[in-house]
Subunit: 131 residues, 6 copies
């Protein structure tokens, strides 16, 4: 294992602290998820990752809960346990109900099922859906 | 290639026609997507697949557009061109705007990016997110 | 595109011809699938790939048709169109019936579905199935 | 983590108990795998998932062991540890020998290898295998 | 299909033109790959994607050719034909020889093979490699 | 779980010992990674896997560190924790610096991101990159 240990605020240099401060301000919480404290081993990677998250997950044409559901669906498909754990919690914090989580699992399961069936049967795209 | 040819309504047996009729009724359209006409080569597979789609994609705790966006996010992650083509069209028909599609791509891209980074850095799940 | 063109028997050097000869002998057919003619651009890669295929796909504790079905299931899951096309044909040549192909698609679809659902719900492995 | 706890028989409502009863009857065992007890948090998801498993994994044109091997091959490819654990055990219960498991791993490994090589070399599908 | 058409320089607004100009300057070529002209349908997505590419693919602790080989390895594993085509060409432009491409395919194939075998055999991580 | 236990040198038969001896000689270390001791449950699978690793990972047109980086990039994309742990350590042993590891993560993340975005936007391959 590559052995990157989490870097706590007190140990961090100025560049990392600036990112930590912005995460805390944006999240409205002092807690820093492990992902940020581990990525801090490469300050440029930390800064770029956070900047992308902040821009992409902000409210826009899609509301924040819908964005979390989409993020969670991808993470489930890829089998990223850490991402399922943290974005599942984030989705709940933004209002995902148990019934919505159950339906999300059902849709994610169905899509994975039919993605495979369609590829296996080599279904050609209907003329009407071509670009 | 396995060589399943699409089965048109006129060629289909009673079991397949019953499914085709239900698809047309539920969709409010006579057009049958190629996926159904190809899966009709195995009537049990067709019937089961359609039953699952009908149940899972129906309005519930999540609205139909959110379900389509989740389905599309999984299909993009899995690289199923047919599924991206048909469910992209379905999402548009249910109201997805170009701006929403752009943000969906951004979230799907971000999740795929960070899923990989998190796995590569072997980030341990924070105590507070454990079940 | 990297631009490896297929190398026909007549153009091939001695090392590649030896592999081609063995493929023809083993397959009992003069036709060389495109995959071999393309991999021939790197004779060591060709020789190693063929040696592995010959050893692994030979009859053993699992019969050749079962091996083809397993190979096809993986190729469908990974969405390799070339592999689905050629191994689908190989499975048919070894006796896969249309009904068996339909059931294969159903099992592959189900496994992809439940793999995702299980990961999304973070189901812990039952004590009794631990190593 | 989303925090779905397993639901034991005694805690379950009538809809869930009916599924549990059918699983026990079909399996010929009182033990309920964790997957069912966790999915019971969404009774419709549980009922649909079980119905699909029961239909798809039943003996048909493919025998139950072959179906388990295919299911296991997909689960290995997707890296679903829970699914590998439970379906590995199920395959053993249906007669998979250690030698068969070793050959299954070899075929699954080979398919994953050549799926990647073929995609990387952009091998075009031979005319003779087109639909 | 969602139907985003490529946007040529002449049709583009000021925000998109600024990105196009920077791509041309950085690449030292007037040609704009299709990916940029398609992503231009969402100017924020285009700008963010390009900024990330420019930062991440620049020379650093890893040289540009090594970065291209890594990018290509991921794209092959994910089966992204467009990405294989363009980054294969980019790797060649940066000096990848045919022999290096053949060895890259071999390593990518081997990793995909053994990733699957290791997951299927549930190999536990050696104590000495734990973080 | 299928329950293959590691086989130590002292318990192993002659065929397995011959492979173990070659691994020790080639690696210049007595330690045998768990993967080899587990695969030893199927001597043919062990012998074939080791032979492939030895051939493919040897110095050639690509140097050993570059090969490890490519192997690691694939293992991260596939989420194989064992493979990330052992090949991360191997890359470090061959000279990968912390800064190089950070840039590797950045490139792997970027490729996974844009692979998805490109597939979702259905970008057609530029004429100039076609084979």
């Amino acid at each position: 294992m590559i052995g990157w240990q989490p870097i706590e605020y007190e140990q961090a240099g100025a560049e990392v602290r600036a990112v930590y401060d912005d995460i805390r301000r944006t999240r409205g919480s002092d807690y820093l998820n492990a992902v940020w404290r581990v990525l801090a081993n490469d300050p440029a990677l930390l800064a770029r990752s956070w900047r992308n998250v902040k821009e992409v997950m902000a409210p826009g044409a899609l509301d924040p809960l819908t964005k979390e559901l989409v993020y969670l669906a991808v993470s489930i498909t890829n089998g990223c346990d850490y991402c399922i754990g943290t974005h599942g919690a984030a989705a709940q914090a933004k209002g995902m109900s148990p019934a919505q989580f159950g339906e999300l699992l059902a849709v994610v399961g169905l899509a994975n099922q039919l993605n495979a069936v369609v590829k296996g049967a080599a279904v050609p795209l209907d003329e009407r859906y071509r670009g």
